[in-house]
C-alpha cells in the first residue's frame, strides 16, 4: 500500500469531483496548511473584514495589475469563517480568486490543521493552484484515501462517516481503475510496466554483484553497461513529463473548430455562440483570413471556439496560409463543426473531408433563406440554424454542452491522480538521475541501487508494487548462483 511519507507532513489534493462543477474544492491537511495559505495569498492585499469582503472588481483580475502589487505577509483568515482571497503563484502571477476556509486542528475533518480553497472549477485552475502549492514545498499530493485515513488515525471520523467508509474506498479505487482503464490504458500502462522492468533488470545486475560476491557467474564490480537502459529511461521520463505539460495545456480548454467553405457563415455562427461580434462578418467570401478564437463556458468547462478561413482554392498567399492554419486547427481540435450554406447546397452535409471525424457536427446555416426543411434536417448531429436570426441555435448549443460534458467527463482521469502521477514520475526521474550521476562518479553499487529502488518504488505507486522477490526471481533466472 502507499504508505504516507510522514505522520506530520502536509498533504493536498482536489477534494471535489474533477472538472465539471463551477466550484472546485482543494483541501490541504497537516501542520503546513497555514504556510500554504500564506504562500498562496502572499501577494494579495487583505480585504477589510475577512468574512464579508468584496469580491474585487473585474479590473483587479488583470494579472498585469496584481503582479505589480507589493507582496506582503498575509494573515490567516479567522478560523471557520469564509474569507475571499486572491491566489498567486510564487512569481506573483494571479491564479484565481478563492473562498478560503481555515480550520485549525483538532476540530477539522482530519483532526489536523485543514485549509479548504474553493476555487473556480475546471482543470486548469485546479492544476495551477495545486501546482503552486506543491512548489512551496510545504506539502505533497495526498495518496488516495489519505485524508480519510488521517481522519481515522486521529479519531475524527464519526460513526456515520465510518459506516460509509466502504463506499468511499470503492469510489477511490473506482477512480484508480478509471485512471488505469482509460487514460493509462494501453500504451501508457505498457510504458510504465516497461520502465519498471528496466529498473528491476538494472537492479538485478547490481544486487547480484552485491549479494553474490564469490560467484564466478556474476561480475564482481558495478557493471555500467547494466545502466545503459537506465540512461534511456531518464530520457523517457523527461519526455513523459514534457508530454504531461502538453496534456495540461489541452486541459485549459475544450477546443472546437468551425470549418467550412467560404461565406457559409462560420463567423456569424461563432459570434452567435459568443453572443458578441468577435469576428468580422461580411458578405465577401474569404473575409476571415486567420484563426479567430473566443472563449466560452459550456457545462462549466472552458471551451475555445475557433473561427477559421473558408476552405477553398486560395486566391492569394495570405489566404493560403489562413487555409493551412484552418486545417491545422481542425486537426488539433477536440470537435469540429462543419458549416455549409443550406441555401446554396441543401445537401452540403454529404460533403466529406479528410479531417471529418466521427462525432463531428454539421451545421446547415442560413436556414432563414430556405423555405422548406432540408432533407438532412433531423439526422443525428446535423443542425439547421440561422446564425443571423438565432433560429435553431438552442438545440445546437445544448448538443455542444452535452458533448463537452461527455468528452471531459469520460476522458479526464481524476485530476489528483494525474498530478500525483506527475509527482511520482518526477520523483522517479530525480532518483534515476542521482543513480546515473552516482554511477558516473563511482559511488558504491549499494547507493546506485538504493536510488534505483526509490525510483522503482515511485513508479510502483502508479502501477503496483515491486518487492525483493521480483528482484531475486530476476537474479536467479539470469545468473547461475550457488558456489
Amino acid at each position: 500500500m502507499g504508505a504516507p511519507r510522514g505522520p506530520t507532513d502536509t498533504i493536498i489534493a482536489l477534494a471535489s469531483g474533477s472538472g465539471r462543477a463551477g466550484v472546485a474544492v482543494i483541501r490541504a491537511s497537516g501542520p503546513g496548511s497555514a504556510g500554504v495559505i500564506r504562500a498562496l495569498t502572499r501577494a494579495n492585499q487583505p480585504y477589510p473584514g475577512d468574512s464579508s469582503g468584496p469580491t474585487g472588481s473585474e479590473g483587479a483580475l488583470d494579472p498585469a495589475d496584481v503582479s505589480r502589487e507589493t507582496p506582503q505577509p498575509q494573515s490567516l483568515p479567522q478560523p471557520r469563517k469564509a474569507a475571499v482571497r486572491k491566489l498567486f503563484d510564487e512569481a506573483g502571477g494571479f491564479l484565481d480568486e478563492a473562498l478560503i476556509l481555515w480550520m485549525p486542528g483538532p476540530l477539522s475533518y482530519t483532526g489536523e490543521d485543514v485549509a479548504e480553497l474553493h476555487v473556480h472549477g475546471g482543470p486548469a485552475v485546479v492544476e495551477a493552484v495545486i501546482g503552486a502549492a506543491l512548489r512551496t514545498r510545504l506539502c505533497r499530493i495526498a495518496e488516495p484515501g489519505e485524508f480519510t485515513r488521517r481522519a481515522f488515525d486521529s479519531g475524527r471520523m464519526d460513526l456515520t462517516q465510518a459506516e460509509a467508509i466502504g463506499d468511499l474506498i470503492d469510489a477511490e479505487t473506482e477512480g484508480q481503475r478509471r485512471q488505469a482503464g482509460r487514460l493509462y490504458q494501453g500504451e501508457a500502462a505498457r510504458v510504465f510496466e516497461g520502465w519498471r522492468g528496466l529498473l528491476v533488470s538494472a537492479m538485478a545486475a547490481l544486487e547480484a554483484s552485491i549479494d553474490f560476491p564469490d560467484e564466478a557467474d556474476i561480475p564482481g564490480e558495478i557493471n555500467l553497461s547494466a545502466l545503459e537502459p537506465i540512461e534511456t529511461l531518464a530520457v523517457d521520463l523527461e519526455q513523459a513529463l514534457g508530454d504531461a505539460g502538453r496534456l495540461a495545456s489541452v486541459r485549459e480548454g475544450f477546443r472546437i473548430a468551425i470549418l467550412g467553405p467560404p461565406n457559409a457563415g462560420k463567423s456569424s455562427l461563432m459570434n452567435r455562440l459568443a453572443r458578441r461580434e468577435a469576428a468580422i462578418v461580411s458578405p465577401i467570401a474569404g473575409t476571415t483570413r486567420d484563426v479567430v478564437e473566443v472563449r466560452l463556458v459550456l457545462s462549466g468547462y472552458p471551451v475555445w471556439v475557433a473561427d477559421t478561413a473558408g476552405l477553398r482554392e486560395a486566391s492569394d498567399a495570405i489566404e493560403a496560409e489562413g487555409i493551412r492554419r484552418a486545417l491545422a486547427r481542425a486537426e488539433e481540435a477536440d470537435l469540429r463543426i462543419w458549416v455549409s450554406d443550406v441555401s446554396d447546397n441543401p445537401d452540403a452535409s454529404r460533403e466529406t473531408s479528410s479531417t471529418f471525424r466521427e462525432g463531428d457536427l454539421r451545421v446547415l446555416n442560413k436556414a432563414d433563406l430556405l423555405e422548406t426543411s432540408p432533407s438532412s434536417a433531423g439526422a443525428e448531429d446535423v443542425f439547421v440554424v440561422s446564425a443571423r436570426s438565432g433560429a435553431g441555435m438552442d438545440p445546437l448549443e445544448r448538443r455542444l454542452a452535452e458533448i463537452v460534458r461527455e468528452r471531459l467527463e469520460t476522458d479526464e482521469a481524476p485530476l489528483v491522480t494525474r498530478a500525483r502521477h506527475r509527482e511520482l514520475v518526477e520523483e522517479a526521474l530525480a532518483a534515476v538521475e542521482r543513480a546515473l550521476e552516482g554511477a558516473r562518479i563511482g559511488i558504491g553499487a549499494e547507493l546506485v541501487s538504493e536510488d534505483l529502488r526509490l525510483a522503482a518504488r515511485s513508479l510502483g505507486r502508479i502501477t503496483g508494487s515491486i518487492d525483493a522477490e521480483d528482484l531475486l526471481d530476476r537474479i536467479f533466472s539470469q545468473f547461475c548462483v550457488g558456489k
Binding site: G2, R5, G145, L159, F212, E215, A468, G482
Partner: protein
C-alpha cells in the same frame, strides 16, 4: 558472560523448567542461551549432546546478509559471533571494496573448534541444563503447552517450549534411488514430534536441500589449484573481540568442465531430483550441480571452492567441503564426475553427497514472536520454519528463546521490526508471506539496508537487548563504553568547523560560499576520510579506529540515511497500529473473499504487516482500519452506556 561453568553438570533438583528447548543445532543453542540470559530456568533437550553446535553442511559462518545476522545475534549477546571468532579459520570481509552497508563478514570454520566453542559457551550458563534424550511428544494442558516427553520415557514440565528440530522432521535422505529416513546422515529422524505437529492442525509442507560429497584433503592435487587466502587483518564477528587469534588457512578453487557436465548430463535420470522422487522444493541460490548443468546449459564450467573443514593436522581438517557441487546422484556417478574435476583426479571420497527432504511448518502459523498461534507456549525456530542456514536459524532461535522466556515469566513479546534488524526482516518475511523455497537472507531483502549495517549492529540493538532482558552485564558495560566514545567523537566533530578557504588550503575542494562547515560535513566530501580530519585537527588523534570508522560511514551515507530515516518514520506508523489477534476478518464489509482468506490465515499483528501480505490492496487495508475504528467506537459507547 562469566558464570559458573558447572551448572549443567549439577544434578537438577527438579524436572520442571521455565523453558525447554528441543534441539541442539544453531537455533537451539541460541534459543537456550537467550532464555537463560533472560533468567529463565532452561533445559536444552537433544538426542545427542556431543553434536550440539554441529555444522551439518558447509563449515562456514556469515556472508552477505548472513554476516549481518551474526552481528545482530552478537549485539543481542548471542552465541554465534563469539563461537565463530573461536572457530574461524579463514576470515574474509566480502565486498570489502564496496560500501559499508553491503560488506559481509564471513569465515570458514573449523567444525570441531566451532562446536566446542558453542558447547563451552552454553556450559557457562548456570541456569541452563543440557539433557540427552530424543523428544517424542509434547505435553499439553488446558490448551497450552506444559512440557515434553522423551524417548526414554522421562518427561519434563515447562512454561514454554521451543522446537528447533531442523531437518529432523520426517527427514528423508536421497542418494540416487536410495532413500534413507534420517535427520542428518547417520542420525534418526524425529517422527513422533512431526506427527504431533500435524496433529495440531498446522499447515505443513516439504522442502529439500542438498549437500556435496566430502573429500579427503590429502588425496587432492593442490599444486595445480588457484588458492584463496584469508584476509590479512581478520575482523572478528563479535563486538566483544578486537582480534582473531586462530590460525588462518587458504581455500582452493577449481572448476567443472564440459567433460564433467557430460557425465552429469548422461546420468540426470538417476538423480533423485530429476527422477521425480523428491517432492520438496529446493533453494534456487544453492542448486545441485545437476540443476546447474541442466538450467544453465550454455555455461561450460562452474566454480568450486575447496573448503577445509578444519585446521591442517586435525581430524576435522582431513576433510574438504567442495562448495558448488551438491548432488543427489548415485555414488558411482558422483565418483565418476568428481574425478574428472581438475585437481580431484585421484580424490578419495569419504562420504557421498545427498539431498534431504524434510517437513517444515508454514511460518504463517506463527506470530511475529515465533509463537505457534494454535498452541500457546509453543515456539518454533530455524529450518522447521522453512529457512536454511545457520545464521537464519540462530537469529530465529535467539528471538524464540527470549520470547518463550518472556512468555513463561508473563511478559509481553519482544519483536524487532523490519526497520531495526535483518532478524526483523527475516521473521516478518516468514510470518507474513510464508516460504516457497528454503528461505535465505540477502541484503536485497532489507529495504533499510543502508541503515541496517553489520558495522552498527551493536548501536542498533544492544541497548534494545538490555531492555528486553537478553543482554548480560559484560556486554552492556562494554557497549556503553563504546557508545559514549562515539557520542563524544560526534560532538567533537560537530564543534570543529572551518571555512571553505581553510578547506581549500587543506586540499578539500569546497564551494566558496562563505559557509562554515563542521568536520562531519567536511567528511561527506569525496576523498575526505578520518585521517584527513586528523591532519587538519591533530587533536583528533586520540579517537580510536573503530569510532573513526563509524564517523566515516555516517558521513559517507549522510544524505541517503536522512532519506531513509524519513521512510522509517512512515513505516513505523503502520507498525504501531496493532490488530487484535481475534479480529474476525469475515465480518468486515468491503473486503474481497481473497483478502479475507489471506488475512484470516496470516492474522497480522499490525496494520503494516497486513499491508505486506501478498496481493493486499490499499482498499482492503483501509477497510480493516475502518472496521477497527468502528469497533473501538462501539466498545467506547457500550462502556459509557
Amino acid at each position: 558472560m562469566t558464570r559458573s561453568s558447572t551448572g549443567s553438570r549439577r544434578p537438577m533438583q527438579t524436572d520442571t523448567f521455565d523453558v525447554i528447548v528441543i534441539g541442539g543445532g544453531h537455533a537451539g543453542a541460541e534459543a537456550a542461551a537467550a532464555a537463560a540470559r533472560f533468567g529463565a530456568r532452561t533445559a536444552l533437550v537433544t538426542h545427542k549432546l556431543s553434536t550440539i553446535g554441529e555444522m551439518s553442511c558447509n563449515p562456514a559462518i556469515g556472508g552477505l546478509g548472513k554476516g549481518h545476522l551474526v552481528r545482530e545475534i552478537d549485539a543481542l549477546d548471542g552465541v554465534m559471533g563469539r563461537a565463530a571468532d573461536r572457530g574461524g579459520i579463514q576470515f574474509r570481509m566480502l565486498n570489502r571494496s564496496k560500501g559499508p552497508a553491503v560488506r559481509g563478514p564471513r569465515t570458514q570454520a573449523d567444525r570441531h573448534l566451532y562446536r566446542e566453542a558453542v558447547q563451552d559457551i552454553l556450559r557457562e550458563y548456570s541456569n541452563l541444563t543440557l539433557i540427552e534424550d530424543g523428544v517424542e511428544d509434547l505435553i499439553t494442558e488446558n490448551g497450552r503447552v506444559a512440557g515434553v516427553i522423551g524417548q526414554s520415557g522421562r518427561s519434563w514440565r515447562a512454561g514454554a517450549v521451543v522446537v528447533t528440530t531442523g531437518t529432523f522432521l520426517k527427514g528423508l535422505i536421497h542418494i540416487g534411488e536410495k532413500r534413507i529416513p534420517a535427520g542428518r546422515v547417520g542420525e534418526a529422524p524425529a517422527i513422533g514430534l512431526s506427527d504431533r505437529l500435524y496433529g495440531l492442525g498446522l499447515q505443513m509442507g516439504r522442502l529439500k536441500t542438498g549437500t556435496p560429497a566430502r573429500l579427503v584433503a590429502a588425496s587432492i592435487d593442490w599444486a595445480g589449484l588457484e588458492m584463496q587466502d584469508a584476509d590479512a587483518d581478520p575482523i572478528p564477528f563479535s563486538f566483544l573481540n578486537d582480534r582473531i587469534t586462530v590460525q588462518q588457512i587458504a581455500c582452493g578453487i577449481t572448476w567443472t568442465s564440459a567433460e564433467v557436465h557430460a557425465v552429469i548430463g548422461d546420468n540426470l535420470h538417476k538423480s533423485a531430483v530429476y527422477s521425480g522422487a523428491i517432492a520438496g522444493r529446493g533453494p534456487r541460490y544453492c542448486p545441485s550441480i545437476e540443476d546447474k548443468v541442466k538450467r544453465f546449459a550454455d555455461r561450460d564450467k562452474h566454480q568450486i571452492f575447496l573448503e577445509p573443514e578444519g585446521l591442517p593436522g586435525t581430524e576435522a581438517g582431513e576433510l574438504i567441503y567442495p562448495n558448488g557441487i551438491s548432488t543427489s546422484l548415485p555414488e558411482d556417478v558422483q565418483e565418476a564426475f568428481i574425478r574428472k574435476i581438475h585437481g580431484l583426479e585421484h580424490v578419495e571420497i569419504r562420504r557421498f553427497g545427498y539431498a534431504i527432504e524434510y517437513d517444515y511448518v508454514d511460518p504463517r502459523e506463527l506470530t511475529p514472536d515465533l509463537a505457534v498461534k494454535k498452541l500457546p507456549g509453543l515456539y518454533l525456530a530455524g529450518q522447521i520454519n522453512g529457512t536454511t542456514g545457520y545464521e537464519e536459524a540462530g537469529g530465529q532461535g535467539l528471538m524464540a528463546g527470549l520470547n518463550a522466556a518472556r512468555f513463561a515469566a508473563g511478559n509481553d513479546p519482544y519483536i524487532l521490526d523490519r526497520s531495526r534488524a535483518y532478524i526483523g526482516v527475516m521473521i516478518d518475511d516468514l510470518v507474513t508471506r510464508g516460504v516457497s523455497e528454503p528461505y535465505r537472507m540477502f541484503t536485497s531483502r532489507a529495504e533499510y539496508r543502508l541503515t541496517l549495517r553489520a558495522d552498527n549492529a551493536d548501536q542498533r540493538l544492544t541497548e534494545e537487548g538490555v531492555k528486553a532482558g537478553v543482554v548480560g552485564s559484560v556486554r552492556r558495560e562494554s557497549f556503553h563504553v563504546k557508545r559514549s566514545s562515539i557520542d563524544t567523537a560526534r560532538m567533537r566533530l560537530e564543534a570543529l568547523t572551518l571555512t571553505p578557504n581553510e578547506a581549500r588550503s587543506n586540499g578539500i575542494n569546497i564551494n566558496l560560499d562563505g559557509k562554515r562547515r563542521n568536520a562531519l560535513e567536511v567528511m561527506a566530501y569525496d576523498g575526505v576520510d578520518f585521517a584527513k580530519l586528523r591532519s587538519i585537527w591533530p587533536e583528533l588523534s586520540d579517537v580510536t579506529p573503530q569510532v573513526a570508522e563509524q564517523m566515516e560511514i555516517e558521513a559517507q551515507y549522510a544524505g541517503y540515511l536522512d532519506r531513509q530515516d524519513a521512510d522509517i518514520v512512515a513505516f513505523r506508523k503502520d507498525e504501531d497500529m496493532r490488530l487484535p489477534s481475534d479480529l474476525d476478518y469475515r465480518a468486515i464489509g468491503g473486503l474481497s473473499n481473497e483478502a479475507k482468506e489471506k488475512l484470516s490465515t496470516v492474522r497480522p499483528a499490525t496494520l503494516g504487516q497486513a499491508a505486506r501480505i501478498e496481493g493486499m490492496t490499499p482498499g482492503a487495508i483501509t477497510a480493516v482500519l475502518g472496521y477497527l475504528r468502528r469497533s473501538a467506537r462501539k466498545a467506547e459507547k457500550a462502556a459509557r452506556g
